[in-house]
Symmetry: C2
Subunit: 439 residues, 2 copies
């Protein structure tokens, strides 16, 4: 999985540093398919974010299969030690869907048939022009005393049940059903239970600096903020600063985060490219849109990745005019007018070729800016003089053509990704230095 | 997270249908960072695959923070109900790293200082030209009676401990440390414990057919194989068939999977594009390499995604010559020689434009094949006549130029992905029908 974040500085877990007491939650994901090598529970990531925001800490997560004994034990254990227990999945109409039965057993209550739920499920089927299959009747059984949580997106209703001071919440597995149910019918209850604690997170993204350098510069700033925890994380190609504030009002959290993030941005300057977790392509797109400028891109080793990232942003047709994936030398000569002598003298991977590509692209597409990349992504193709990871990024605008040389670590995937990030970042810095642009 | 697989047919979990008894394992991932909204345990996916292969079923997974009471209870519970318990993480040298202490408590044993481990950790530091910090001494404490599992990639050794008939295995969290330790020092023990059961998986990938149609055709074939479980899963743009064999010898598993997969491929024909889980771009690349043919690609709505996928395959420079991301109309005209009248008469999103793009691309790049795509990826830009998801794919070779029209569901990301898949699949089918190619 290529999207995981790597924590390379010692990670201080936000909640351990806070002083307001937080409620403890556990999440139980149910379904044997979640115990295979290709699939895992991801609902809990979304739930964790929502819970943290209202000051509830997730203390434990369990993933359990369609296994009655283990599930019953898990629910009992969770209720014995945590304030809030949320289960996801296992509410379908088949025999494998054991959550209803087992959660009732775990809390020592009966399942009762709910005529109203049945009527709604039947109506749902009828609205699609179908009769409800007999098997779906199972979905109308509710734990005695539980509140029914309606499901506008499916036939499985959820349940919430107060047991002494604890809350058991039973949600369906499909994300679009779970999310709507949780936001509409669970979150308001939990907010009441959690009281006046707000936890809010803000993510700043930083390019072109190492973690230690960032930390050295900003530690004196963030250490002053006792109610904001600052974590420094390393992603595929940049540093992320996660600021987490815990306060008694939402306004206080917002203003603390705003204040701290501005101080950090002032210290780090242009290295901060996103103040709210935006992607590099979104940031570059915004700068181009605001300035009414256009862009073209010529790619060799990234093979289309830069163009693809830029055009993933909806509305990019306003500034992205054209891209060329000139993988072969002939294509560089034919399409970008790179002189054969340049390639023969300096090689296809060289500052001279990168600059000629950028120039040729800009002239051809008649854009304000052009970017070009050429490099060795590996695993093959490296030499002692030009090793895998050597990349040249070319840049052209109306007044200058230049290039930068970088050496990137990583496998083929990472080298290509990091090249695309460095190229977009070069453009971003060029635009920001351009005095006609006001941010 | 865009990479998860969606199970849309009722998912029959492989192991429930098998008759040879399998050992039960639980995995406990330790670390508070694994309970944040941006990170989750992924080591367990790799471990699950390895365990399944030797006939061990994972029955439950727990993710627990740096919380002594909950961790101790989790380890005790797991050992009380499962044959094998594997913990990951929490073996570092700091106070937060509680796994050593808590796992010893959970099994009622003491930690003892191991001079040999200390010597090795010290030597490791010295090999980097550093003295071992005092704090790393903690990593030399071992549960009484446990076997030490060496760590060639880090300073945290693992442990394995037999308790009555159960096995507790304690592994470090960083994947490159965990994997090497598990393969070298844990897997051999587990194989002995698990006895003569082999579970092997083979993944076939199918394009251009729906799940029900696939199932109808192949159910009579796979139902005959009692020792192979067949699951039909829907991925972003294709069907996956997961065949899982459980047998007493590895040869039997291999030959059953081989036999069944050939029967399925014969029934489904060209719709099966991968017999071993390969990506579409890898399959197309192999066909092009084998036939010595070349390819160029002109992209509008996919914005470089097709070129990027093709060039993600190492060695693709042998057949991928050039790509053009002609996002604007001017670029289509300038770079691909699409006649202005064609765009004016039929629109940029039309069969005529797609064909002109493919033709223009092929002539410019002088390749054997050319692909072109133009469509509406959304969220904006759709009309009643040309809605979001409408895509035309153009194809050109030396003897013909043609195009297909498709209507794709999904958001911008999915429409772009599915378009790229459909374009590559069109080329694949064209190559396979070409009589000069022998598969």
């Amino acid at each position: 999985m290529k999207i995981s974040v790597v924590y390379s500085l010692p990670f201080r877990f936000p909640f351990s540093v806070f002083h307001l007491p937080m409620l403890a939650a556990e999440i139980i994901a149910i379904g044997s398919e979640l115990l295979t090598p290709t699939k895992t529970d991801t609902n809990s990531l979304w739930l964790t974010e929502k819970l943290n925001e209202i000051g509830v800490e997730v203390k434990l997560k369990t993933i359990v299969g369609d296994d009655e004994a283990r599930l019953e034990e898990t629910i009992k254990d969770a209720l014995s030690r945590s304030d809030i227990v949320i289960t996801t999945g296992g509410l379908g109409p088949t025999e494998d869907d054991i959550t209803r039965t087992v959660s009732a057993q775990a809390v020592g209550r009966k399942l009762t048939f709910n005529e109203e739920v049945l009527t709604e499920v039947q109506a749902r089927f009828r609205s699609f022009g179908r009769e409800m299959p007999e098997i779906n009747k199972r979905q109308a059984f509710i734990i005695e005393g539980a509140d029914v949580l309606p499901n506008p997106n499916g036939s499985a209703v959820g349940m919430s049940l107060k047991i002494e001071e604890k809350l058991l919440v039973v949600l369906p597995g499909p994300p679009h059903e779970l999310k709507q149910m949780f936001e509409n019918f669970v979150l308001p209850k939990l907010r009441e239970l959690a009281g006046e604690i707000y936890v809010k997170r803000k993510v700043l993204r930083v390019s072109g600096m190492g973690e230690s350098a960032v930390d050295e510069l900003i530690a004196p700033i963030y250490k002053v903020y006792k109610n904001v925890n600052t974590s420094i994380l390393f992603n595929r190609s940049e540093i992320e600063l996660h600021l987490t504030a815990q306060t008694k009002t939402i306004e206080e959290a917002d203003s603390l985060l705003e204040e701290l993030s501005i101080k950090i941005a002032e210290k780090l300057g242009n290295a901060v490219f996103a103040m709210n977790g935006e992607t590099m392509e979104a940031v570059v797109g915004k700068l181009l849109t605001e300035s009414g400028k256009t862009l073209s891109v010529a790619e060799s080793c990234t093979g289309g990745l830069i163009a693809q990232r830029l055009t993933e942003v909806s509305g990019s047709s306003a500034y992205f005019i054209e891209g060329a994936v000139t993988y072969s030398n002939e294509a560089k000569i034919r399409t970008l007018d790179v002189p054969l002598e340049v390639i023969e003298t300096y090689g296809a991977v060289s500052a001279e070729t990168a600059e000629a590509m950028a120039n040729g692209m800009r002239e051809k597409a008649r854009t304000d800016y052009a970017l070009a990349v050429t490099g060795i992504a590996g695993p093959g193709g490296g030499t002692e003089e030009k090793p895998v990871g050597l990349v040249f990024i070319g840049y052209a605008d109306e007044s200058e053509t230049k290039s930068i040389k970088i050496n990137l670590p990583g496998d083929r995937y990472l080298i290509r990704w990091r090249t695309s990030q460095a190229a977009l970042d070069l453009l971003r810095r060029k635009i920001l230095k351009n005095p006609e642009i006001v941010r």
